[in-house]
């Protein structure tokens, strides 16, 4: 067993693996680029819908049901289906990932807006704010901590799932796993796995740091309301589990 470990470290330390178009830095950048692309598209869809549902309360049942149903969809099945139907290329797997990323984002946004103290919203309205002002100046800022929880969950889920897209001829760190599998090169597989795990943990730490630095702790509040926020947060934390890894 120990020689596998030393071989893996030798693989990780080999300068050849750190340069060129299939080098580790390039793979990490690819991995993060796919993640970024998926997150951008998914956020562009999920956040407006979540804001609308959270603010008006309309379509709440539909959204919650949809998020629940999407949760049960197997990632791998959706990926292979999209590739078979739309062909190999960058976008089919990206769209499959977008579909899988929408539920945690949607749940986070919706739960965030719903967790805002009703008194705050009523006060904002009583002060003469328009509906848009109520949404963007009262509800949105107050819901950021919960929304950010959904975002974090979504990012980690995508990072985990992007390792699978290498199976259908895309790049990213997952390549090492599947190349290694074909060649029975276990050190390469293990090295790739360790890199993926390290990347996921590193990204999670960065996201946690951002949360600590930029999001007001006060906004998540104390007392009764914070309990609700916490409950919704764990709820959105649970939501992402349809696919693999990734929790705050």
């Amino acid at each position: 067993m120990s020689n596998v470990v030393t071989d893996t470290f030798a693989w990780l330390a080999d300068p050849e693996n750190w340069s060129g178009t299939s080098g580790i830095p390039v793979r990490i950048i690819e991995h993060l680029a796919y993640t970024g692309l998926v997150m951008l598209i998914a956020m562009a869809i999920a956040i407006p819908v979540g804001l609308y549902v959270g603010h008006t309360g309309r379509g709440r049942v539909a959204v919650v049901a949809l998020a629940g149903a999407l949760r049960a969809l197997p990632t791998l099945g959706l990926l292979t289906l999209f590739v078979l139907l739309a062909g190999i290329g960058l976008m089919p797997p990206i769209w499959a990932l977008v579909i899988l990323t929408i539920p945690p984002l949607l749940a986070g946004t919706y739960a965030g807006i719903s967790s805002v103290d009703r008194n705050v919203v009523d006060a904002a309205r009583a002060m003469g704010m328009t509906e848009w002002q109520v949404l963007f100046r009262a509800e949105f800022p107050n819901s950021l901590p919960v929304m950010y929880g959904g975002f974090r969950t979504g990012v980690l889920q995508v990072i985990a799932t992007v390792s699978v897209v290498a199976y259908i001829n895309l790049g990213g760190l997952g390549r090492y796993l599947f190349d290694g599998l074909v060649l029975s090169d276990f050190p390469q597989m293990l090295g790739g796995s360790l890199l993926i795990a390290a990347l996921a943990i590193a990204v999670d730490l960065v996201l946690a740091l951002i949360q600590r630095l930029f999001l007001s702790r006060g906004a998540s509040a104390q007392s009764n309301r914070s309990q609700q926020a916490a409950v919704d947060l764990t709820d959105s934390v649970y939501t992402e589990t349809a696919v693999q890894g990734g929790t705050s």
């Binding site: 796995s193 409950v231 693999q244």
Partner: protein, 249 residues
């Protein structure tokens, strides 16, 4: 459909393997998570250590974990034990959180009443804490069940037998039907397991049905979600169970 009928035996075999790989970790995870949560409740420090540790483990992508584990366990890479251990780790990570929420949801007055009545710690735990925490616990279990069933399919990439094999072979043979059958089979399996858990919960917690009408009357009045607020942690469970019910319909 024709393909399914022609290959139904194979699909059923794979579904059986799939179910074992998904359910076994859930049971193991529960057996580990309950004592762990109970230990974590002893102090704030322990609680945050357990919660941080479990979320850290949960951050590791499953595919990576399937490959890292054989080195640690000394098993072969194709050994289904790797999948069971990996999914058990995820199940523990989720269930510790759920179990903590669940034990917190038990009314402290009831606990003290039990102590006053002369319950010993273990008897109190088994007869008071455990049954009363079941509703929140089951909410966690249902999440784990869905996530496990979906995650097991990833193991097919490494060649471990389960319904995910239908995806890999469908892709290799450029055969959409097989992939669609796989997706549907997994969805059915997830719905089936969810129904089993709901049924089990109903059987184990008959008292919640009696008190439910009073609870559900609240959310109707005023803002829907603020109605959940009153019920505290159970609000999340309610939200989820309603989500499930609507999803199943």
């Amino acid at each position: 459909m024709e393909w399914f009928l022609a290959n139904r035996e194979q699909v059923f075999t794979l579904a059986g393997q799939h179910l074992v790989l998904a359910v076994l970790p859930m049971i193991l995870g529960l057996l580990i998570a309950i004592p762990l949560a109970q230990i974590a409740r002893q102090s704030r420090g322990l609680r945050s250590v357990v919660l941080t540790g479990s979320s850290l483990l949960y951050t590791i992508p499953s595919l990576a974990l399937f490959i890292i584990l054989p080195t640690i366990l000394g098993t072969r890479i194709l050994d289904p034990a790797n999948v069971v251990v990996a999914l058990t780790i995820y199940a523990v990570a989720l269930l510790v959180r759920a179990a903590l929420d669940a034990f917190d949801s038990v009314d402290e007055d009831l606990r003290q009443a039990a102590v006053a009545m002369g319950f010993k710690p273990l008897a109190r735990f088994i007869q008071i804490d455990l049954p009363l925490s079941l509703p929140v616990m089951f909410a966690g279990l249902r999440v784990v069940s869905v996530s496990n069933i979906s995650l097991v399919s990833v193991a097919a990439l490494l060649g471990i037998g389960n319904l995910g094999m239908l995806f890999t072979s469908g892709l290799q043979r450029d055969f959409v039907t097989e992939v669609v059958v796989g997706i549907i089979a997994i969805l059915i399996l997830a719905l089936f397991m969810d129904a089993v858990l709901v049924l089990l919960e109903r059987l184990l917690t008959p008292w919640t049905r009696a008190s439910r009408p009073a609870g559900t009357a609240k959310p109707g009045a005023g803002h829907e979600v603020s109605g959940d607020e009153a019920s505290g942690p159970q609000g999340a469970a309610g939200l989820r169970s309603r989500a499930k019910a609507a999803g199943a319909a």
